[in-house]
Every structure is written in structure tokens, then in C-alpha cells.
């Protein structure tokens, strides 16, 4: 990791962000960790270094609302140092760290510890998400105000649902009091039961234990109604069902302060990914039917789903080396998010700008932040070559989790260089 | 490819040979077993010629071959069918061609799994020599010696004829 302050001019790249489509090459000038000029002005400004990024896209650094850095934890599945470096390689300059750690991030002490480790070891911004209930047990409120004061950007439940609707309602009312955003994964635990695959064609054929759509949709409805009543700012993590998307759209039309995200792999894969008992694709929520995938894509296109997340879940190999039902859920995705996005762009399912928007401005807005290529913005930048390819395998992946969704095949979308606050945090050339 | 041998003459030869063997050994009521597929065709004709009372037995030696570890199982294996007790019986075992002797070894092993016969007489239409085991037929209609590239095959069942062909290998 090299660190260069001072002024840098990027020339020849196409500038793409939530508002720019990058139709032609334009220059961009950064100085003292900030974007100071674009276009004509950037070409004329003084620069210590000029970097030719012809053929590349210059985008704001990606923002991930759901990433598991596995720290605090026992280190087997990765830690802040390994996973933040992997995230930088994936083009991310800000990652929200899931509260589902060991111990759970339910106190300001844990939050401070995460921030201190990140300060020392992470090349990029680590934004802790605190636990909404103590120990994520769904029974007692966590010290929400203290967590927020310690630096938690939001509070969430990881993948552990708050089972009791009365407690959930109180979580929301209390969070509303302190203007805290809740990031909740919609899961009805009773309907999920022992399931680990979409309750559909593939589960029927392979005899996998199913998770029905209603395990998500009933939870979405409950969360939306409670959010509407309490007025809390609600962000729904990782939708997987078509029906969930339409319910969120309806709620937004009614004026409910709700946003939603989807994991990138949900946009690319379906239940068919499990057809060969490939344990990597044991994920939560499960990969669902093609109709669901189409609805999720439409949700990203029209903005109902404003963010795409990595839902990065690194594991040690033993956790994935078993029959599907005996493995731990989750893919190692943070380095492959852009590649999956570019596959969708090549297939004509999303535009380049839609992918960039959902990885930058969309998630930043959920956190009340910005991520655009405007003067005065922090120089959090991701430069990627959409035409160049790379391969994910045990040697190339930086994450401790080697179970990437697509391995040993050419992947489109090579992240060439990443800056966080003007410091270079990733360079493909090494 | 030539039909080089007269089948009727060969069968006459086999029948005569068998009759004299049975006479010599004073066997009254033998049972006849053919080895699939060519051996069964020959055995069927001999069965009629000898006018045997009991039905013909058919042996599929696929489960007894000694080369399973090299070439695997014959995918078209059919059940063996011995519609008589073999225990204590005099058996005439018939095959079309004998070469290494391995098929006959397998067939005898299989016959013994049905019961212990009193004796076995081996009759083959053609003897190609090149034996790899100490097994000799009691009756042979025709001995041939082939070059390395020649192959002999019995075609049938109707008409039954011996074909010789040149191979590349």
C-alpha cells in the first residue's frame, strides 16, 4: 500500500457517479484529500502527478452497507486488516461492519475497539453498525444513544431477527427518538426454521430444506407497518423476493421513510446455483427464482432498491467443506462485486451508471453521507477498467474467504486504482 | 471377409467327435451347455443333432471373466439359464472359438457354482491355438492358425457362418 498526498490529475477517464453517465473522457484533479476540479478546470490546474486512466471509469469509491469484517472474532474467518484490504481491492472506500461479531457490537467499548483497529489497520473507512438489541438476542434494547455517540452509523440486527413484534416496535420508537437509522434484515424466524435454500424447484428436486418467500415477505410487511407507525428511518437489508420489492415501493409511495438494498449476487444468481449441491451458494436470504431476480433488477433500475451491497461473509474453508445443509451461509464477495455488476451490464440488465449509483450515492444517502464526483468531496475514488479481466482463485483473492461466487474464470471489470481521502489504497500494478 | 468354411461339414465333424467321446466314456444322458453368444448357436444345432431329451443350457460368463479390473462389466449381460440340475451330471460344454482358454475357465467356474458335475466334455467349432491356460478341447471341428492381423468371428444365428477379417491393429 503506497501513500501519496499532494495533487494528482487523472486524465482520460470517463467520470461516472449517481448523476454522471461518463459519455466522454474528462480530467479530475485531487489535492489534499479532496476533489478540487473536474473537466476543463482540472486540466488547467497544477498537479504533481498526472495519471493516464484512459479506457477506465473514474467513480466515487464504493460504499458497502453490509460487510462482515469478522473482527472482533477468532480470526479464522478473517479480520479487519485482511477484509478491509480485500474491500479496497474491490473498489470500496467505506464499508459498514456488521454488528454480528464475537462479541456482538452492542456496546460503545466494542465500537471503539473496532474503530481503533480500523484506524491502525484498515486502508479504508470502516463504519461500524451497532446491534439494535443486546447480544442481538432480540430481548433488551442496546444502549443506542451511546453506540451512536461512539461512532455507529446505524443500528441493525445482522441476520438475527427481533422475534418479538412488541420489542421490535420499542426498538423503532427508541431509535426514532435519537434519530438513528435502523438497518434490519427481514426474517421471520419461525417460517425460516431449519431451511437453507429457496423453497422452490431446486429445493424440491434436491430435497433441500426450504425457506419460503413468506419467511421474508411477512417480516417486510411487519417492519414496514411498524416503521410507518413509529416514524423511524428504516433500511431493509438484502431483499430477495419480488413481493418484497413491491411492498417497499408501495410504502415509499405512502411516504414511509424506508430504503432497501440487495446483495449483488442476488441480482446474478438464482436457486439454480445450488443445483450441483455447491455449498458456496448457501446464502441468507437464499438465492430465489428467476422472477425474483428480475424484480430485484427492476427495483435497482427504478431506485426502489437504492443500494447494492456485497454481503461479504468470509469463512475458513472448513465452514464450507461439507454437504450444503451442514455449511455456514455466505459468499466471499467483496472483491467480486464490481465484476458481477459488469456481467449484468454486459447482459444489458443494468446500465453502468445504475451499478455505480447503487454502489456509491445510493448507499451513501442511506448513511446521510455523499459519494459523488463533485468539487469539495473527499477524494474517495475507484478507477476501474470495464474491459480488462481478472480471475478469482486462492492465489489472487485477498480475503480470508476463498469461496468467491465465480472462480477460475475471466471476470470483467478490473479495479485499477483506489484512493481513500486522497491516499492510494489499492493499485493493481502492486 | 470370406465365409471360408462349410458350416455343415464343421457341424458333422463336431457331432461325430462328440458321439465317439460319449461312446468311449459310456455316457448315456449328457446335458448340453452353450456359452453366449456363438457357443449357444452351435450348441442349439448340436442339441437337435444329438436328439437330447433335456433342454439346452445357456451360460453368460460376464460375472466370471478374469479381466473385470481391466475392461469392466459387459453392459449387455443376460442371466445364465441352466434348466436342469448340474450336480452329478455329465456336461457337454460348447463354445464357438477357443484361443486363450480363459473363457472356458470362467465357464467351468460358473458351472461349479450350480453344483458339482460328474464330468465336462469341451467341444469347440474352431481352435485358434495361442493357449494361455492348460485347457484343451475334447472335440474340435477345425484348427486354424492366424496371422497377427487376422480375426475370426462366428456370425449368426441364421445363417450361421464363420467370417475371417483383416484388422489394422
Amino acid at each position: 500500500m503506497t501513500q501519496q498526498q499532494g495533487s494528482i490529475r487523472l486524465v482520460g477517464g470517463r467520470l461516472v457517479d449517481g448523476g454522471r453517465e461518463g459519455r466522454q473522457a474528462e480530467a479530475l484533479l485531487i489535492r489534499d484529500g479532496q476533489i478540487v476540479a473536474l473537466g476543463q478546470a482540472a486540466e488547467q490546474g497544477e498537479a504533481e502527478r498526472v495519471i493516464d486512466v484512459s479506457g477506465c471509469v473514474v467513480a466515487p469509491g464504493f460504499v458497502d452497507l453490509n460487510c462482515n469484517l469478522r473482527e472482533p472474532g477468532n480470526g479464522q474467518k478473517g479480520n479487519i486488516a485482511s477484509e478491509s484490504r480485500a474491500a479496497a481491492r474491490g473498489g470500496f472506500t467505506s464499508v459498514c461492519s456488521s454488528p454480528q461479531t464475537s462479541p456482538v457490537n452492542d456496546s460503545s467499548a466494542v465500537t471503539r475497539m473496532i474503530r481503533e483497529v480500523a484506524q491502525a489497520q484498515s486502508p479504508i473507512r470502516v463504519l461500524p453498525v451497532g446491534a439494535v438489541t443486546r447480544g442481538l438476542e432480540g430481548e433488551l434494547l442496546s444502549d443506542m444513544a451511546a453506540l451512536s455517540a461512539a461512532g455507529c452509523v446505524a443500528l441493525g440486527n445482522g441476520m438475527a431477527p427481533v422475534r418479538n413484534a412488541r420489542i421490535l416496535r420499542r426498538c423503532m420508537a427508541y431509535a426514532r427518538t435519537h434519530d438513528i437509522t435502523l438497518m434490519l434484515a427481514p426474517v421471520n424466524e419461525a417460517l425460516t426454521a431449519d431451511g437453507y435454500a429457496h423453497d422452490g424447484l431446486v429445493a424440491a428436486r434436491l430435497g433441500l430444506l426450504g425457506i419460503p418467500e413468506v419467511a421474508e415477505t411477512t417480516a417486510v410487511m411487519e417492519l414496514l407497518l411498524l416503521a410507518e407507525e413509529t416514524g423511524v428511518r428504516l433500511h431493509l437489508n438484502q431483499l430477495s423476493c419480488a413481493r418484497s420489492v413491491s411492498m417497499v415501493a408501495d410504502a415509499r409511495r405512502r411516504g414511509v421513510a424506508v430504503t432497501a438494498d440487495v446483495a449483488m449476487h442476488q441480482l446474478l444468481f438464482t436457486e439454480e446455483a445450488l443445483a450441483g449441491f455447491d455449498s458456496r451458494f448457501h446464502v441468507r436470504p437464499p438465492l430465489r427464482a428467476e422472477a425474483d431476480r428480475q424484480a430485484l433488477l427492476a427495483g435497482v433500475r427504478d431506485g426502489v432498491i437504492s443500494a447494492i451491497v456485497s454481503q461479504h461473509q468470509p469463512h475458513d474453508s472448513a465452514a464450507k467443506q461439507a454437504p450444503v445443509g451442514a455449511t455456514e451461509p455466505g459468499l466471499s464477495t467483496v472483491e467480486s462485486v464490481l465484476a458481477m455488476g459488469m456481467i449484468l451490464v454486459r447482459a444489458g440488465e443494468l446500465s453502468e451508471q445504475q451499478v455505480v449509483r447503487a454502489l456509491t450515492a445510493g448507499p451513501a444517502t442511506v448513511l446521510d453521507r455523499t459519494a459523488t464526483l463533485d468539487e469539495g468531496q473527499a477524494a474517495d475514488l475507484c478507477v476501474f477498467d470495464p474491459a480488462a479481466s481478472w480471475q478469482a482463485n486462492d492465489q489472487t483473492l485477498l480475503s480470508a474467504g476463498k469461496h468467491a461466487p465465480i472462480r477460475d474464470r475471466d471476470l470483467p471489470g478490473l479495479v485499477r486504482q483506489v484512493w481513500c481521502q486522497g491516499r492510494e489504497v489499492w493499485n493493481h500494478e502492486g | 471377409m470370406t465365409a471360408l468354411l462349410n458350416m455343415d461339414v464343421l457341424l458333422d465333424e463336431l457331432e461325430q467327435g462328440l458321439r465317439s467321446q460319449l461312446r468311449e466314456r459310456e455316457i448315456e444322458a449328457p446335458v448340453l451347455i452353450g456359452i453366449r453368444t456363438g457357443g449357444v448357436w452351435i450348441a442349439d444345432l448340436l442339441h437337435k443333432r444329438l436328439g437330447l431329451a433335456e433342454p439346452l443350457g445357456e451360460l453368460d460368463i460376464s460375472f466370471y471373466r478374469d479381466d473385470f479390473s481391466r475392461i469392466g462389466l459387459n453392459p449387455k449381460v443376460k442371466p445364465s439359464h441352466l434348466p436342469f440340475e448340474t450336480e452329478g451330471r455329465h456336461i457337454i460344454l460348447v463354445d464357438d472359438v477357443i484361443m486363450s482358454g480363459r473363457t472356458i475357465r470362467a465357464a467351468m467356474n460358473e458351472i461349479f457354482d450350480y453344483g458339482r458335475p460328474a464330468s465336462i466334455i469341451l467341444a469347440t467349432l474352431i481352435d485358434l491355438g495361442s493357449r494361455e491356460l492348460p485347457i484343451q478341447p475334447d472335440v474340435v471341428a477345425q484348427s486354424l492358425s492366424l496371422t497377427a492381423t487376422q480375426r475370426v468371428k462366428l456370425q449368426g444365428p441364421d445363417p450361421l457362418r464363420v467370417e475371417m477379417r483383416e484388422t489394422q491393429s
Binding site: L206, P323 | F63, S69, V77
Partner: protein, 337 residues
């Protein structure tokens, strides 16, 4: 987009379409299934001899790897292997000791040291034999003896053999499977086999709580009412009902289940007069089936047990043969005249 992983099909077949593992009936052709039944017929003949043993797998080691205990199934596999002259090792590994995946991988590492030629695997997780086939040293054949809710292909094939013996064909047959389809690996394999072999209609008869989502996609028609479902049947297959299904509100009571879905003489009378009755066993008399039906003239339940050994002999010798072919690829095969 589908993931690029080997399908069961490419995993269990050699390049030229021979069986090398036997994990599932999915993707197996009618021809191959018929070959299995034909080969099993030959082994039935072997079973009628004075010496019921052939030297086919002499010198091979077969390990019965049962992570879920089942004396009955294990015994038929053991007898099948012994009748093929293989050496047999029975390992009953309690599920509790290996409920974590790590242990399964470790178990396999230990077993590989024994230089086995075949693993017969029974496991409570769907896909476990598939996982083992992917992890194990090349040359070792894996036979699925029942995995989770996924498949029990040897059981389904022995049922097919029984049907063929009694009906002589599959074309035009109407077959119903009655009972707990949701949890049944046997039912999944039977539905697949019946469709592949050309049965005219496969019905599943069960209450909604015992049917998987999208069950029709397996190739069957759903019937909730048994009286209607029994009409014109050539074959009725009764599934075993596990007692624990009363928990978790899948069924109210055994009594109600028997009243609605148990096979009584009255209900059997609604099928064709020559309809045969099958049950993979062991039977819960008075829960799935009336004793008079189980022991009656239309029952072929005992017949199924005999066929089990022959089918397992067929599958084991064919898979071993496929492994031989795979290993010998490129080498010369010898003539043996």
C-alpha cells in the same frame, strides 16, 4: 446465471456415459436405467444358484459408510457386496459425532488411507454423497444409500424392478405414491425413475403439509383425496410415516392420517383389480396400511426385499466397472476368447 459447478450428471457418469458413481437418478437416461434393471435380472438368477456368489469384485474393498444407522439397508448392501466377492467393512458413524462438516472431511481423509474401492454412503444431509464423490480420491466409487430428503436411488430402482416383474412394462402405467412425500428421498427417486422409464402418470397423494413446494415440477400430479387418487391405478406405493411428523403440526394424529391416507381394502378396491401394492418398509401396520392389504394377494412387499440385493449388486458392479473404464482410458483392453 447458474454457477459453474459439475452437475450430478457429469459427476456420476464417465465420458462415454457409463455409471461411475451412483448418486441420483437425475440425468440418467431410460437406456441406462433399463441396463441397471437388466443387469439386476442376471443377478437374480445368480441368487437362485447353490452358490450365490460371483467373483466379479474379488479383491475390492467396499466400505459401508453409514452416518445414519439403518441395519436393514446396510445388510442388503453388505450381502450384495459379499455376493460380488468384495471385502466389506461396515462403519456406523453416529450422526452426532459428524454433524459438523469438518468431521465429515476428516472422516474421509482417514478412510482414504484404507485404500477402499467403494463407499456406500448413508447420510442425513441431502447431497452428502455428492460432496464425498467430489472430495474423494479418483477411482473410488460412491453409492448413495440414502441422503437426507434428496435421493435413495437403489431403493427406487429395486421398486422399478418389482414393477417390471409384475407389469412387464412401464408404458401406460398409472402409479401413485401415498404419504409423506416432503421428507421422502425414496419418493423423489421413484418419481424420477417412473418418469424416465415412461410411466403414463405419477400421482402423489398426501395432505398439503407433507408435500414439498413446487412438487409438480418433479413430474407428478397432486391428489389430496385418496379415493380419487386410487382410480385406475396399476401400482400404489405406500411410504413410511415417521412418528415425529405429529410434532411441528404437520399432522393431527396417526388415526386421522390412517383414516384419510392409510391403504385399506376398501380403498384398494378403487384401483384396478390387478393393482400391486408396494412399500419400501419397514411397515407401520395400521398407520400406512391395513395388515390384510400388506399380507394380501396384491401385496408385493416381500418381493421387494429379494430384488434389493440384485439391484445393489448391479449398481455396485456397474459403478466399479465405470471406475475401471475411467482409469483404463487410453490403455489397451485385452481380448479374451
Amino acid at each position: 446465471m447458474t454457477a459453474h459447478n459439475p452437475s450430478s450428471q457429469s459427476l456420476q457418469l464417465t465420458g462415454d456415459g457409463q455409471l461411475k458413481h451412483f448418486l441420483t437418478l437425475d440425468g440418467l437416461s431410460k437406456t441406462l436405467l433399463t441396463d441397471i434393471l437388466d443387469t439386476a435380472d442376471s443377478f437374480i438368477e445368480v441368487g437362485e444358484r447353490t452358490i450365490k456368489k460371483v467373483p466379479l469384485l474379488r479383491g475390492k474393498t467396499v466400505v459401508n459408510l453409514f452416518f445414519e444407522s439403518s441395519t436393514r439397508t446396510r445388510s442388503t448392501f453388505e450381502l450384495a457386496a459379499k455376493r460380488l466377492s468384495a471385502d466389506v467393512l461396515n462403519l456406523d458413524i453416529s450422526t452426532s459425532a459428524t454433524s459438523k462438516g469438518e468431521s465429515l472431511s476428516d472422516t474421509l481423509l482417514n478412510l482414504e488411507a484404507m485404500a477402499s474401492d467403494m463407499f456406500v454412503v448413508r447420510h442425513s444431509q441431502s447431497g452428502a454423497p455428492h460432496f464425498i464423490a467430489e472430495s474423494v480420491t479418483p477411482g473410488v466409487a460412491i453409492i448413495n444409500a440414502g441422503d437426507g430428503r434428496h435421493a435413495h436411488p437403489t431403493q427406487a430402482m429395486l421398486d422399478m424392478l418389482t414393477i417390471r416383474q409384475h407389469k412387464g412394462r412401464f408404458d401406460g402405467l398409472k402409479v401413485a405414491i401415498v404419504g409423506d412425500i416432503l421428507h421422502s428421498r425414496v419418493a423423489r427417486s421413484q418419481i424420477r425413475a417412473l418418469n424416465a422409464l415412461g410411466a403414463a402418470e405419477v400421482r402423489v397423494i398426501a395432505p398439503g403439509t407433507l408435500l414439498p413446494a413446487d412438487v409438480e415440477s418433479l413430474g407428478c400430479r397432486v391428489e389430496y383425496d385418496m379415493a380419487r387418487g386410487m382410480r385406475d391405478l396399476d401400482v400404489v406405493i405406500m411410504l413410511r410415516l415417521q412418528k415425529e411428523r405429529m410434532e411441528g403440526a404437520l399432522l393431527p394424529s396417526e388415526r386421522e392420517f390412517y383414516r384419510l391416507y392409510g391403504l385399506s381394502q376398501d380403498k384398494l378396491a378403487l384401483a384396478k383389480p390387478d393393482c400391486i401394492v408396494m412399500h419400501p418398509g419397514p411397515i407401520n401396520r395400521g398407520v400406512e396400511i391395513e395388515s390384510a392389504v400388506a399380507d394380501g394377494p396384491q401385496s408385493v412387499i416381500l418381493n421387494q426385499v429379494t430384488n434389493g440385493i440384485a439391484v445393489r449388486m448391479a449398481v455396485m458392479s456397474m459403478a466399479m466397472s465405470g471406475q475401471v473404464a475411467e482409469r483404463g482410458r487410453g490403455q489397451q483392453g485385452g481380448d479374451a476368447a
